[in-house]
Structure formats: structure tokens, C-alpha cells
């Protein structure tokens, strides 16, 4: 493999990992920022506003996809690979 393509690939992988990492970190900042509100929504759901039940499900899906993609790229970047 040429040195330039290898370096290009590494920097692309680094950029993707950093972007996903930043997106994931932003999600967690928002989670802590709205922590009380989320607890409040669960209470309101218990009291009858059933539509709020969709909020935790949506949160779970978004976090899983973004953070899952980030951790996958993170370990790949660090070279953690299975034995063949």
C-alpha cells in the first residue's frame, strides 16, 4: 500500500471517529442538561400523558446508533482486532 493512501485512510478514519465522538459527547451533554425534564416526562407518562412514552424510545435509538458507530470506529482506530 502506498504511504500516501495509508496516511489518507488513517486521517479519514480519525476524522470520522472525531466527528462521531463529538456527536456522541453532544448527545450526552444534552442528556445531562435535560436530565430533570426526562424524569418529569416519565412522571407525566405515569399520570396519563402516554404520548411521552415515545421519548425514551427515540432517545435510545438515536444514542445507540451514534454512540455505537463511535465506539466501533474508536476501537478500530486503536487497532483492537480479533485473532484470525
Amino acid at each position: 500500500m502506498s504511504a500516501s493512501s495509508s496516511a489518507g485512510r488513517s486521517s479519514r478514519a480519525l476524522v470520522i471517529t472525531l466527528v462521531l465522538g463529538a456527536a456522541s459527547a453532544s448527545l450526552y451533554v444534552l442528556l445531562f442538561f435535560f436530565s430533570d425534564r426526562l424524569t418529569e416526562l416519565a412522571r407525566l407518562t405515569r399520570e396519563g400523558d402516554k404520548l411521552y412514552a415515545l421519548v425514551p424510545l427515540a432517545v435510545a435509538v438515536v444514542f445507540s446508533f451514534i454512540h455505537g458507530a463511535f465506539t466501533g470506529h474508536f476501537w478500530d482506530l486503536l487497532g483492537l482486532r480479533a485473532k484470525k
Binding site: 500500500m1 502506498s2 493512501s5 495509508s6 485512510r9 456522541s24 450526552y28 442528556l31 445531562f32 436530565s35 426526562l38 424524569t39 416519565a42 412522571r43 407525566l44 407518562t45 405515569r46 399520570e47 402516554k50 412514552a53 415515545l54 421519548v55 425514551p56 424510545l57 432517545v59 435510545a60 435509538v61 444514542f63 445507540s64 446508533f65 454512540h67 455505537g68 463511535f70 465506539t71 466501533g72 470506529h73 474508536f74 476501537w75 478500530d76 483492537l80 482486532r81 480479533a82 485473532k83 484470525k84
Partner: protein, 647 residues
């Protein structure tokens, strides 16, 4: 009904949850089973009510199961029909389990559900942990259970498949058999019931599919992901509707567990199977002990036994907490130690083997060509074991026989988050399956007298791994399959194939399933660009070597000026003259209309088995990279297409 109080999130509790998630994820990735049997008790030990712990654990599992099921489906490992049927019955089990939980909570309060969850944990972990420990001891003594490895069906599976209940029979592809849905109903229901009770359904689902329905371990594990998604989504919704999901806890646990899962899953590939089972059994039995010591406290709260002295309660809870912490630390240390030791040994073994491997030999045959444009000495064929890549493998070996080329075959395994939700160590199974697939291809190549090297690659970006390996082995041509012929253009060509063509530094041969490159006739598509000139040189070299007639085609369109049309005709004449001077039988055609359909039409008329076309540069979107005409040709034609990269 007692009110539900979510725990306060402090920096300490957040950090503990993250670490618990990390270790739990690592453990679950290692033992290949849902980590909730560690996470649920850990959350309960932090003061989270049992029902909230179960609900919150379900909420972070179903999206992971969805990602996993989608990926496994692409690899053809999932029986969707079976997953959905079992998932629907599992959903009923979840609904029933959730009602039991809520009823217990209404009747006895939080202590009631805590006792219920803990008691179920003790029973289930006792049974499953005991079996796993027995298996580990047997395997260590060399008496490994062969049932899952052999293709012979057990008497139980044969009996289950022989039951005929009219009006209830369903055919399942994974079993190639018809099974009554009345058999599947209790299996699915029990899976869902357990999932709603302790957030781990795989303990029933996977073994049931393997030992009762006779599915291979990998298909059972992959199909379990569909069940996990269906029941996880439903279960999470049912619990969320009652306000039991503390999404803050779920997401913090998720943050840590996603980091841990891959360490655990990769760790399994460095140790023997029985080591994984020993660790699994040890953790299960430690968690059992932990939950067991909490039970007197809950019984005391319910008034079922004498009220415990605060000191005694603290002492018992302390043992429970200690056992859990010990289980987590023990699991983490065992995995990290196994991973470290295994990686060291692997590195030493690779270093020791390195001097024995010489540089890749250049084979005889067409060989020793100086121009990289028309060189066919090393082929790289990407195979995922599907029927689509089967054609690529077949043609690679066939062409290598004619050209005397060396064939490199690669298969890709992509580790992912779904490894958490499985009942078996799927990564290890998958690596073994991919290696055995590669070994099969190598045997085919050996039989044909073709030099062949196999490469088992791991990574998430398929196209990058292919291009990277092609560079490393200095491949002259990458040979890939193509998916079906209908639908959207991008889907037809296959995203990975399009990206490889866009980013590869060498030529790419795309082989549809039914195509056979026999050297009957070559159609060269040219538009007079420098990319097309490179394609012309390559087509010329091929035609010379294989003594194949060529038709040079160029297509003008309504938008083009008269000058352009005249220039197009000159280009065709120039290429024809060049090839003729090399002794190739060649004719030129200038057509008018839509370029891709005109070119594929010529290929069909002349019964060509290969279309050669140029490709644009190497950066940007793949559609731009390949060129829209080349992409349409790739999608429309039934014969192989060689996309020549500009030198």
C-alpha cells in the same frame, strides 16, 4: 400504589453506572450473552427499583438488536420469518411478564418486585450457570459436546419436526422444514416472559432454537436478534407507557457497555472455548450469590420473616454488593488478562512466522508485463460466501488458470455492537465460518492448479478493506460480484462495489451471477476521454493475450455538437487502427442514442462476455467516480464488466 422514584444522578453515581456498563458490556461481549444479568442486579444494588432496572435495561437493548439483525440479515444468517413468529409470541410473553411485575408491585410494593426479580435470577442463573460450568469442565477434559457441530439432527429435533398439526404448519428456510407454530408459541412466550422479568431472554431463545428446532448456532444467535428487537421494542414501550424507563440510566449504561462489548467479543478469539465458559459460569454463580444475600432483606420488608436488625440487613446487603463487585472485577480482570496474554502470544507467533514468508512470487503466464494498465498477474477476489460473490470466485479461478495469475481471496468479518445480545460467541463462530469458506475456495484453486492466498480481514468499511488489501498484495484486478438486476441503480450495483470502483487504484472486474468470461468477444466502450484511452490499452492487451475479437463502440447523443460527433468517429477509428496493428480482429461502431443501453445492446448482439470501460478519477461521490454511463452499464448488462482505472 407506591410511587416510583428515580435515583438522583450525581457525578459519583454517573461514574459508577458508566463503569458498571463498561464491565457489564465487556463481560457480555466475552460470554456472548445479554449483559442484563449483570447490569440489572448492579442497578438494583445502587437503589434502583427492580422494575425500573429491568425496564431501563430493555430500552438500550432493542436498538442494538436492530442494528445487529440488519447486519446479520445482509450476511444471510437470519431467518426473519422464524424471528418474527417467535418475536410475536415473545411479545405476548413480555406483556404477560410486565403485568405480573406491575401486579406484584401494586400488591407488595418495590420490595415485592425486588424479591420476584431476585428469586427468578437465583433460579435461572443456578440452572444456566450449572449447565455452562458442566460444559466447561467437559470441554476441558476433551469431551466437548458435539451436537451443535454435527449436522445430524438429535431425536428431539426430529420429533419436533415430525409433528404435523393441520392448519398450523409453517415452512422455515433455515431448517428447510415445516414446524407448527403451536410448537414455537411456548418457546417464544417463555423467552419474552424471562426478558420482561430479568431483561435476559436469550437464555431461553437461543438454546431452544438450537436444541429443540435444530438451527445451527450462528443462525440461532442471529435470529435471536430479530426476537430481541421485536420483544425489546414492545417491552420497552409497555414499560415506558407506565413511566418505568429511566432513560438517563439506560444511556449512561449504554455509553460504557458499547465500549466494553468489543473488548469482550474480541477477547473470545484469543482464548479457548472452555475458558469463556468458565468465566461465564463463574460470573453467573457470583451474581446468583449476590442476589441470594439480598433476598432475606426483601422478605423482611414484606413481613414474610422477622424484621431484620439494621446491622444484620446491612451485613447481608454488604455481602450481596461485595459478591457483585467481585463478579464484575473478576470478569473484567479475566477478560483483560486473556486478551493481553492472547495478543502477546499471537504477536510472537506472527513474528516467528514472518521470516518464513517470502515476497509474493510473480507467477509465470502472461507475466512480466511492464505496463500496469494491462497486467493480469495478481487477482484479488472479494467473497462473502453469497451466490453473488460465488460467480466472482469462479471467474477469478477460471481466468487465473488461463493467465497463470495468482489469486488472493478475501473475506470480511465486521465486529459490531450486536455481539452483546447473543447466546454464543458469534464473532468467534463467524471468524471460523469465514475461514472455512476461504479454505474451501483455496481447495478449489489448488485443484485447478492456481496459486491462491487467503485473507481474513476485519473491519467496518468493506470497500476500504478491499482497496487496502488490493494495495498491499499489489493486485492488478479486483474481482467482485454484483447483486440482482432490478431496483434502484445504487442498490443493484451494490454500495460496496460502487465504492471499490471509485476508490481502487487498480482495475475492477464486476461479475454478475450468471456471467462467464470465456474469451468469446470483448466490447470496448469509449468516449474519447483519457480514461477511455486507458481502457482501450487494457482491452487491447486482453484481446491480444486471449485472441478475442473486439468491438469498439462509441455513442453520440442529441446534446452533442456536430464537431463532437466527428471527433467521436475519429476516436473509434484511431482505437480500431491501433488494435488492428497488434493483429486483433476488431470492428468499430458509432451509434446514436442513450450510451449505456446502446453499449449493452451491442454486447448482447455480439454475444460478448466482457465489456471494458473506463473510470473517472478517485475522489468525490462514487457516482461521479465511476461515471454515470459506466454505472448504468454495470447495472444493465448480464456480462462481466472490467472497469479500467486511469493510470
Amino acid at each position: 400504589m407506591e410511587t416510583i422514584n428515580f435515583i438522583d444522578l450525581t457525578w459519583t453515581s454517573t461514574l459508577i453506572l458508566f463503569l458498571v456498563g463498561f464491565v457489564g458490556g465487556m463481560v457480555s461481549g466475552f460470554i456472548g450473552s445479554g449483559g442484563a444479568f449483570v447490569l440489572t442486579p448492579a442497578m438494583m444494588s445502587m437503589g434502583v427499583p427492580g422494575v425500573v432496572a429491568v425496564a431501563s435495561n430493555m430500552a438500550h437493548k432493542f436498538p442494538k438488536a436492530l442494528v445487529g439483525a440488519h447486519k446479520r440479515h445482509k450476511y444471510g444468517q437470519v431467518d426473519i420469518k422464524l424471528g418474527i413468529v417467535m418475536g410475536i409470541f415473545a411479545e405476548a410473553g413480555v406483556l404477560f411478564g410486565k403485568h405480573v411485575m406491575v401486579d406484584i408491585r401494586e400488591a407488595f410494593g418495590a420490595a415485592g418486585t425486588n424479591l420476584y426479580v431476585s428469586a427468578v435470577f437465583v433460579v435461572v442463573l443456578g440452572i444456566v450457570g450449572g449447565f455452562v460450568l458442566r460444559d466447561a469442565l467437559r470441554e476441558r477434559r476433551g469431551e466437548a459436546a458435539k451436537t451443535s457441530q454435527t449436522k445430524e439432527l438429535t431425536p428431539l429435533v426430529r420429533w419436533v419436526r415430525s409433528i404435523e398439526i393441520p392448519g398450523t404448519m409453517l415452512y422455515f428456510k433455515s431448517m428447510d422444514a415445516r414446524v407448527s407454530f403451536l410448537i414455537l408459541a411456548p418457546l417464544g412466550f417463555a423467552t419474552g416472559l424471562l426478558a420482561a422479568t430479568i431483561a435476559v431472554g436469550g437464555f431461553i431463545g437461543v438454546p431452544a432454537m438450537m436444541y429443540i428446532l435444530g438451527l445451527p448456532a450462528l443462525t440461532a444467535s442471529a435470529t435471536e436478534l430479530v426476537i430481541a428487537f421485536v420483544m425489546g421494542l414492545g417491552g420497552s414501550l409497555f414499560y415506558a407507557l407506565d413511566g418505568f424507563v429511566d432513560i438517563r440510566l439506560s444511556m449512561i449504561i449504554l455509553a460504557g457497555s458499547l465500549f466494553g462489548i468489543q473488548i469482550g467479543a474480541i477477547g473470545t478469539t484469543y482464548v479457548k472455548d472452555y475458558v469463556v465458559k468458565f468465566v461465564m459460569a463463574a460470573i453467573m454463580l457470583l451474581v446468583l450469590v449476590s442476589r441470594f444475600f439480598y433476598i432475606p432483606g426483601y422478605l423482611s420488608e414484606l413481613g414474610a420473616i422477622e424484621t431484620l436488625e439494621p446491622g444484620t440487613r446491612g451485613w447481608l446487603d454488604g455481602i450481596g454488593e461485595g459478591a457483585l463487585v467481585f463478579a464484575l472485577l473478576f470478569g473484567a480482570l479475566m477478560i483483560l488478562q486473556a486478551l493481553y496474554k492472547g495478543m502477546q502470544e499471537h504477536r510472537l507467533a506472527v513474528a516467528a512466522a514472518a521470516p518464513a514468508l517470502g515476497p509474493t512470487p510473480v507467477t509465470e503466464g502472461v507475466g512480466a508485463q511492464l505496463s500496469p494498465v494491462g497486467r493480469f498477474e495478481r487477482f484479488l477476489v472479494a467473497s462473502d460466501g453469497s451466490e453473488f460473490s460465488g460467480a466472482a470466485v469462479r471467474e477469478a479461478i477460471g481466468m487465473a488458470t488461463k493467465c497463470g495469475a495468482q489469486v488472493h481471496v478475501m473475506s470480511l468479518v465486521a465486529p459490531g455492537v450486536e455481539h452483546e445480545a447473543l447466546g454464543e460467541s458469534i464473532l468467534k463462530q463467524e471468524l471460523e465460518m469465514a475461514q472455512s469458506h476461504l479454505d474451501g475456495i483455496k481447495a478449489q484453486a489448488d485443484a485447478a492448479g492456481v496459486a491462491c492466498e487467503t485473507h481474513l480481514v476485519q473491519g467496518n468499511q468493506i470497500h476500504e478493506e478491499i482497496v487496502d488489501l488490493a494495495d498491499r498484495v499489489k493486485a492488478d484486478v479486483i474481482i467482485m460480484g454484483r447483486r440482482g438486476r432490478r431496483g434502484l441503480a445504487r442498490l443493484m450495483l451494490g454500495h460496496a462495489t460502487a465504492q471499490v470502483i471509485g476508490q481502487a487504484h487498480c482495475n475492477v472486474l464486476v461479475v454478475p451471477r450468471a456471467a462467464q468470461v470465456e474469451g468469446r468477444h470483448i466490447v470496448l466502450a469509449t468516449d474519447g476521454s483519457r480514461f477511455a484511452d486507458t481502457a482501450a490499452v487494457t482491452a487491447g492487451a486482453l484481446a491480444r493475450v486471449c485472441k478475442t475479437p473486439v468491438t469498439v463502440v462509441s455513442v453520440t447523443t442529441d446534446e452533442q455538437s456536430q464537431e463532437v460527433r466527428v471527433e467521436t468517429a475519429r476516436t473509434v477509428d484511431r482505437v480500431v487502427a491501433l488494435m488492428r496493428s497488434d493483429g486483433t480482429t476488431v470492428e468499430g461502431k458509432v451509434l446514436h442514442g442513450e450510451p449505456a443501453s446502446a453499449i449493452t445492446g451491442v454486447a448482447q448482439e455480439s454475444q460478448a462476455d466482457l465489456i471494458v470501460t473506463g473510470s473517472h478519477g478517485r475522489t468525490g461521490l462514487e457516482r461521479v467516480l465511476i461515471g454515470s454511463t459506466s454505472e448504468r452499464i454495470l447495472n444493465d448488462t448480464q456480462c462481466a464488466v472490467l472497469v479500467v482505472k486511469a493510470a
